[in-house]
């Protein structure tokens, strides 16, 4: 199976994530879309890992470990991110990013 399939799939997921970030105004949904983007990347990395393993690369495990670290970081990011969103919600009672326009020009 050509690796292109996986490339296209994960790019598609990635771009759907980007679209989501652009289209939605709910900070939480936007954040979810970002997670979707990360997952698309993870999928791609895993596919490449398999590809290079099949091509005979020795240290091909590194890609899967990379995915592991991405998950680790994502978890950390989620904890901080949700904390920030909650803090924002406490002050404004909204998670709509469009009200974030105090800082401009």
């Amino acid at each position: 199976m050509p690796v292109q399939y996986y490339i296209f799939l994960s790019i598609a997921l990635f771009c759907i994530g980007v679209m989501g970030v652009l289209m939605r105004r709910n900070a939480i949904i936007i954040f979810m879309c970002i997670e979707l983007m990360l997952n698309a990347v993870n999928l791609l990395l895993v596919a490449f890992s398999k590809m290079w393993v099949d091509a005979g690369r020795v240290d091909a495990a590194s890609a899967q470990l990379f995915v592991f670290f991405v998950m680790v970081v994502a978890a950390a990011e989620v904890s901080v991110g949700l904390a920030i969103i909650v803090m924002m919600y406490r002050n404004t009672h909204s998670v709509d990013i469009n009200i974030l326009s105090r800082l401009k020009n």
Binding site: V18, V21, L22, R25, I97, N98, L100, S101, R102, L103, K104, N105
Partner: protein
């Protein structure tokens, strides 16, 4: 004696410095002594030099003081050249200059101490500059004096600086001179380019090698002549001279009649080799000289200011001198310079004496019958008039006749016109004389009460000059008289190099006698006519009309210049100032600044505070950059 020639200009310079710096501390008499004494001393030295130069076979000597400008192959020393021409001019300048200095001690006596010293300082400075002009051994030295006399003229015209009109006249004189100087300067540059030198001896030695008809030579000759036009008040740069009468009268006598204005003639005579090799420029000079002579004479016919009449007469006489130069009669030109210096100085000083007596009045319509009160002035003035009119036996006759004779040989029509000018000269001079000195006094009673003959310091120079005006001509009597032409012999080494290129027109003796007789007769007729018309002049008070009005208004030349030069220049300046500078360049420069600010105001709107838009812009940016990189 020759090696002491530097003393000649140095003494007046010393006088200038002492009088100028010490003007607060010196008494008037001391100032007068220093001022006049320095010039008289210079005259004495000049006289000694002259006698040395006069000896036959005298070769020109160059006295180098120090290096002035030394750049690469261009060497311009600060050097004086003593030869027949410069020695003659030294005599005229210091001689007439001394007389005028002496005259001034009395004439300017009413000035304050400081003003008196300032006056003498300027006068001395003028003599210094003029001496540098004639003594210089190269064109740059000549230019130094050239501009120097322009400066002194400026200072002296504007001597009474509180009067704005005088200042304007002074400015006009200086600026018009500068226009001429510009031509002179360009001529010098062309000389440098062509010959790599500005020293007379070196240049003149190379000139014949170029040959007749060379464009470069024409250009040099023309440019130098432009300089002469400015200084010697020829068309079109003559209008400053009549206005220059704003200065004290002795100044007019010295600068604007006897010396400075002859600088142009001196220069052309000095460069005779160049001009002889540029015949078409000579023709131009002759035509311009003639035109100037006629134009100025015509204007003089209708002027009522005593000094203005004399001023236009000067312009006219200078025209004759250029006519002489143009037709190749260099000696005649120099001769006329000399005689003119005598009788014109005399006339001006005489008019000064009149003005002095009239308490500053210059309008001849308010004078009349002055011979009763001022016998010496009257006689000397009459001699001056006769001399300038060309009555045989007086100096003016000989010099003018020589010019006319040469002109006749050159071109008959020009001769006729020149003769016409001479007749006009006789007419307006005697108009002046009769209105001023004969008839009834037309001034106020107070003026009449104060009328008196001037003191000795004034009359003495008048008498000396009158004598010179009479006898001055005998150094250059025409051949037909059977006596040697002393001046021509004396000057022959100067003009020898150009002799081969001139086409001498030898007139037969009979023709020469005939011409002489004709002009004399006509002149006498004119004098009589003037006598008949003006000896009992009464101011009718009517407005002049027609040609008379045009003449009275000097052919409206000043107005013309104003319209075609001054106004456009001001308009151009205004255009530069308002349109190009403010609305153009500066607006552009400021516009860049404003553009940055404007752009800033627009760009910052991108920063609209919306995260959605920010990410959107980032994605668009990514897409564009990816496309550029991957597909372009």
């Amino acid at each position: 004696m020759i090696h002491l020639v530097w003393l000649v200009p140095f003494l007046p310079l010393l006088g200038f410095l002492i009088n100028g710096l010490g003007r607060r501390y010196l008494s008037k008499s001391l100032t007068g002594v220093i001022g006049s004494g320095s010039v008289v001393a210079a005259f004495v030295i000049s006289l000694l030099i002259f006698f040395e130069v006069r000896t036959p076979g005298f070769a020109p000597q160059v006295v180098t003081l120090f290096d002035f400008i030394n750049v690469g192959s261009l060497h311009i020393p600060f050097a004086f050249q003593v030869d027949q021409l410069s020695a003659l001019f030294l005599l005229i300048i210091t001689g007439v200059g001394s007389l005028i200095h002496i005259y001034s001690t009395s004439y300017m006596h009413e000035e304050s101490n400081e003003g008196f010293a300032r006056y003498f300082a300027y006068l001395n400075l003028f003599v210094f500059s003029m001496l540098i002009l004639v003594l210089g051994a190269n064109y740059v030295m000549m230019f130094i004096g050239w501009e120097g006399v322009g400066l002194c003229s400026y200072l002296l015209i504007g001597f009474w600086f509180k009067n704005i009109d005088y200042n304007k006249a002074a400015n006009k004189a200086f600026i018009m001179n500068r226009i001429g100087d510009l031509g002179f300067l360009l001529g010098i540059f062309l000389l440098i380019q062509q010959f790599g030198s500005v020293t007379f001896t070196e240049v003149f030695a190379q000139v014949p090698g170029i040959g007749t008809g060379s464009t470069v030579l024409f250009a040099i000759a023309m440019l130098l002549f432009i300089g002469a036009m400015g200084k010697s008040a020829q068309i079109p740069l003559y209008t400053w001279l009549p206005d220059a009468m704003a200065g004290p009268t002795p100044v007019s006598a010295l600068i604007h009649a006897a010396t400075m204005v002859t600088a142009g003639i001196y220069m052309v005579a000095r460069s005779n080799v160049i001009y002889s090799l540029a015949p078409c420029i000579q023709a131009i000079i002759a035509i311009i000289g003639l035109a100037t002579a006629l134009l100025a004479a015509s204007i003089a016919l209708k002027q009522n200011d005593i000094k203005k009449v004399l001023a236009y007469s000067t312009v006219s006489q200078l025209g004759y001198m250029f006519l002489a130069l143009g037709v190749g009669a260099y000696t005649a030109a120099v001769f006329h310079v000399m005689t003119h210096a005598f009788f014109k100085a005399l006339l001006f000083l005489g008019s000064g004496s009149v003005i002095h007596a009239m308490g500053g009045e210059q309008d001849i319509r308010k004078m009349g019958g002055l011979k009763k009160w001022m016998p010496v002035t009257n006689i000397t003035f009459l001699i001056g008039c006769l001399a300038i009119a060309g009555i045989p036996g007086l100096s003016g006759f000989f010099s003018k006749d020589e010019i006319l004779a040469h002109t006749f040989g050159y071109n008959k029509i020009m001769y006729a016109l020149a003769l016409l000018g001479a007749l006009m000269t006789a007419f307006y001079m005697f108009r002046l004389y009769y209105i001023t000195f004969s008839g009834k006094f037309r001034g106020t009673h107070e003026q009449e009460h104060h009328l008196h003959e001037s003191p000795a310091a004034i009359t003495l120079p008048l008498i000396v000059l009158a004598v010179l005006s009479v006898i001055g001509g005998y150094v250059g009597m025409p051949e037909v008289f059977g006596v040697p032409h002393f001046l021509a012999e004396y000057l022959s080494p100067i003009f020898a190099p150009s002799a081969p290129y001139l086409h001498a027109h030898h007139l037969s003796h009979a023709l020469e006698w005939g011409l002489m007789g004709l002009s004399t007769a006509l002149v006498i007729v004119m004098i009589l006519w003037a006598r008949g018309k003006f000896s009992n002049y009464q101011d009718a008070g009517t407005e002049n009309t027609g040609i008379a009005k045009v003449l009275e208004n000097k052919w409206y030349v000043d107005e013309l210049y104003d319209a075609i030069i001054v106004k456009p220049l001001m308009a151009l300046s205004g255009f530069f100032q308002n349109m190009v500078e403010k609305a153009g360049i500066d607006a552009l420069v400021n516009g860049v600044g404003r553009g940055v600010k404007w752009g800033s105001g627009r760009v910052r709107l991108l920063q609209n505070g919306q995260v959605g838009f920010y990410i959107f812009a980032m994605v668009i940016g990514m897409v564009v950059l990816l496309v550029i990189s991957l597909f372009l």
